[in-house]
C-alpha cells in the first residue's frame, strides 16, 4: 500500500536578483528584478508503507522544497500529493497528527525543560491523554535508552543527546511517516552511528515509514533500501540500493604498484585513471573485460602490491549528479 503518492508536482520560486555594488543595491530598492526558478519540476513517485527511503541530491536540487510540500508547509503550484489519504494543502492539520518531521536541527524542544516535560508538552499538543503519554514515554526511555538524561534540562544535553530527544519527540504522536531532513549533520561519527541505530530500530519496532534526506552517504548506505536522486528539481534516478550498487559494481578499481615501468593504453573496458609509471590506477568494466585479462596485461612478476575495490558509493552518487548537470 502506498502511503505517499506524488504526481506531477511543481513549484516555482521568484528569486530576487541584485547587481553588485552600491549602484546595484539602490537599483534593487526601486526596480527589483526577479528570476523564476523551478525548484521542483514535475516530480512523481510513490512510497510504500514501512519503507526507508533516501531522497538525495546536491544543494538546491529541490529536496527540502519537496519535503515541505509533502508536510503541508509549502503550497505546490500544481500536481497532486496524497499522504495517507490526505491532501497536505487541504488537510494540513489532520495530516499533522499522522506524520512527524525533524527538519535539520531546528530545535522544537524547550531548552529549560527536561526531555520528559518536553514530551508531555508535545503530547498535549497532539491531544494525547496524560496517562497514555506517560506510558509511552516510559516505553521510549527503554527502547531508545534515554534514562540517563530524561530528567536533565535540554540545555544541559550534548548535541547528540539533544538530536536523539528531537527524534523521539517526533515519535510522540505515533507517526506513520517520519520525515528526517539531514538528521546527522554536524555530529561526530559515534553519535551518527547512535542516531542511525535509533532510526533503524524505530523502523523495525514501529513499522514507521521513513523519508530521509542526507548528504552523508553512509547514512543512506546503512539505512535505506531505496534511493531517489533529484537534481535541478527533477528525479534523475529512482532505484533500490542493491540495484544502484549492482549497477556500479560492474566497475572495479584496480590499484597496482609495479617494480618496473609499464606502458598501458586505453582498451575498451579499461580506463586509466592515474599513470605514474610505477603506480597505476585503472577502472575496469567487468562486463567488457575480465579482471583476469587485465592482470594478464601486466607482468605479474613485477607486481609489488595490488588492491582491487568497488567504487565507493560517494563517487557513484557524485558521478550521477555530474552526469545530470551536463
Amino acid at each position: 500500500m502506498a502511503v505517499i503518492e506524488v504526481k506531477h508536482l511543481n513549484k516555482k520560486f521568484r528569486v530576487k536578483e541584485k547587481e553588485k555594488g552600491l549602484k546595484g543595491s539602490i537599483k534593487a530598492i526601486f526596480k527589483p528584478k526577479y528570476k523564476t526558478k523551478k525548484a521542483v519540476n514535475n516530480i512523481s513517485f510513490e512510497v510504500e508503507k514501512g519503507e526507508v527511503i533516501a531522497f538525495i541530491g546536491p544543494n538546491g536540487a529541490g529536496k527540502s522544497t519537496t519535503i515541505k510540500m509533502l508536510t503541508g508547509i509549502l503550497y505546490p503550484d500544481s500536481g497532486k500529493i496524497n499522504i495517507l489519504g490526505y491532501d497536505p494543502t487541504k488537510d494540513r492539520k489532520k495530516l499533522s497528527y499522522e506524520i512527524s518531521s525533524v527538519i535539520g536541527q531546528k530545535e522544537q524542544l524547550w531548552l529549560h525543560l527536561t526531555p520528559y516535560d518536553n514530551f508531555k508538552f508535545i503530547g498535549t499538543m497532539y491531544d494525547i491523554p496524560n496517562s497514555v503519554i506517560e506510558k509511552k514515554i516510559k516505553e521510549y526511555i527503554d527502547v531508545f535508552d534515554l534514562k540517563d538524561f530524561i530528567n536533565t534540562p535540554v540545555r544541559g544535553l550534548s548535541l547528540g543527546q539533544r538530536i536523539r530527544c528531537e527524534i523521539v519527540a517526533a515519535l510522540i504522536n505515533d507517526p506513520k511517516i517520519l520525515f528526517l531532513d539531514e538528521p546527522t549533520i554536524g555530529l561526530d561519527p559515534v553519535v551518527k552511528e547512535n542516531i542511525r541505530t535509533l532510526i533503524k530500530r524505530l523502523n523495525k519496532e514501529f513499522k514507521t515509514t521513513i523519508f530521509l534526506t542526507s548528504h552523508d552517504i553512509s547514512d543512506i548506505e546503512k539505512l535505506c533500501k531505496r534511493v531517489i536522486v533529484v537534481n535541478d528539481g527533477t528525479i534523475v534516478m529512482d532505484t533500490t540500493m542493491d540495484e544502484l550498487k549492482y549497477h556500479f559494481m560492474n566497475k572495479k578499481i584496480i590499484e597496482v604498484k609495479m617494480s618496473e615501468e609499464v606502458n598501458l593504453d586505453d582498451v575498451d573496458g579499461i580506463t586509466i585513471l592515474k599513470d605514474k609509471g610505477y603506480n597505476l590506477k585503472l577502472e575496469v568494466d567487468t562486463t567488457k573485460k575480465n579482471i583476469k585479462d587485465v592482470l594478464n596485461l601486466l607482468n605479474q612478476d613485477n607486481i609489488i602490491d595490488i588492491n582491487i575495490s568497488n567504487i565507493p558509493l560517494e563517487d557513484i552518487i557524485s558521478s550521477i549528479y555530474k552526469k545530470e548537470k551536463k
Binding site: 528569486v15 525548484a39 544543494n59 508547509i73 509549502l74 499533522s96 527538519i103 499538543m125
Partner: protein, 264 residues
C-alpha cells in the same frame, strides 16, 4: 468545535506557563525587570502631572481621564507582551522562513508563534496599569468596566499587531516598516486625541485603531452607553477575525526558507 477550543486553550496556557517558568529561573533578573518597568512607567504619570499643572484641561480630558488612558494602554500592552510577545516575531519569521516549525504541528501556527516568547517586563506594565487604575478609580462597577474594556482593547491591539506583521506575507519589505505602525499605536495611545487635529482622529479610527482601543473606552467612563460598549466589542471581534483570516490567507504565500536562497 468546543473540544478544539478547549484543546487550543490548554495548549496556550501550557505554553505561557513554560514561558513564564523559563523567565523566572533567574529570580533577581525577573524581579528587577518587573519592578523597574513599573518605576519606568511612573515617568508617564510625572509627565502628565507636569502637563496638567501647565494647563488644567486637555480638551475635555481631566487628569483622571488621562490616567485611565494610560492604565488601559499599559494593561493591554502588558497582556499582549506577557502572553503573546511572539507577535513581534511574525514578520521576521515570514521573512526568514522560520514558520516551518509551527506548520508541522497540529495546533494553529498563529497560536504557536504568538506564544513562542514572553517579555517579562510586560508583567510590570500590567501591574502598573492596574495600580494606576485603583489610585484614581475606586468603584467596583468601574473596575468591572475596566476589565471588560481592557480585554477588548487587548484584542484590538493584538489583532492590529498581527495584521501589520502579516502584511509581510505579501510585501516582504514591509517587515522593516511595520514597526512604524506598532510604534505609532503606542505613541498615540498615551495622548488624548483632543490635542490632535481631525486628520489624526480619523487616522486613529481607521488605519491605526487606537480610537477604538483607548479613546472609546475613556468616553465610556465619562458617559456610559451600551451602544458604545457594543461598538467596542464588535470592533474588537471583527478585528480579531480579520487578523486570523489574513494570517491564514498569507500562509498560502509562505515561501519557507527558500525565499532568500533557493533551497538548501
Amino acid at each position: 468545535m468546543l473540544t478544539e477550543v478547549r484543546s487550543n486553550l490548554r495548549y496556550i496556557l501550557l505554553s505561557i506557563k513554560y514561558n513564564v517558568q523559563r523567565e523566572m529561573l533567574n529570580r533577581a533578573s525577573f524581579l528587577m525587570n518587573v519592578l523597574l518597568m513599573m518605576l519606568n512607567n511612573c515617568s508617564i504619570v510625572v509627565q502628565w502631572l507636569v502637563f496638567f499643572s501647565l494647563k488644567p484641561d486637555f480638551g475635555g480630558y481631566t487628569f483622571e481621564d488621562q490616567m485611565l488612558a494610560v492604565a488601559l494602554c499599559t494593561v493591554t500592552y502588558g497582556m499582549v507582551y506577557l502572553f503573546f510577545a511572539g507577535v513581534d516575531n511574525i514578520a521576521k519569521y515570514i521573512e526568514q522562513g522560520a514558520l516551518d516549525k509551527y506548520l508541522t504541528k497540529p495546533k494553529s501556527p498563529l497560536i504557536g508563534v504568538l506564544t513562542s516568547k514572553t517579555q517579562i517586563s510586560a508583567l510590570g506594565d500590567l501591574l502598573f496599569g492596574i495600580i494606576i487604575f485603583f489610585i484614581y478609580y475606586h468603584n467596583p462597577v468601574q473596575f468591572l468596566l475596566f476589565l471588560i474594556c481592557s480585554f477588548f482593547s487587548f484584542l484590538i491591539m493584538l489583532s492590529f499587531f498581527i495584521i501589520v506583521n502579516s502584511i509581510t506575507f505579501w510585501f516582504i519589505r514591509f517587515s522593516d516598516t511595520k514597526q512604524t505602525f506598532t510604534d505609532s499605536y503606542i505613541s498615540f495611545s498615551l495622548y488624548p486625541y483632543t490635542v490632535f487635529g481631525n486628520f489624526v482622529t480619523i487616522l486613529m479610527h481607521t488605519i491605526i485603531p487606537v480610537g477604538f482601543a483607548i479613546y472609546l473606552p475613556v468616553t465610556l467612563f465619562q458617559d456610559f452607553s451600551i451602544t458604545k460598549l457594543l461598538i467596542l466589542i464588535g470592533f474588537a471581534v471583527f478585528n480579531m477575525i480579520l487578523a486570523v483570516f489574513l494570517f491564514n490567507r498569507g500562509l498560502k504565500r509562505y515561501t519557507s526558507s527558500s525565499m532568500a536562497v533557493v533551497n538548501v
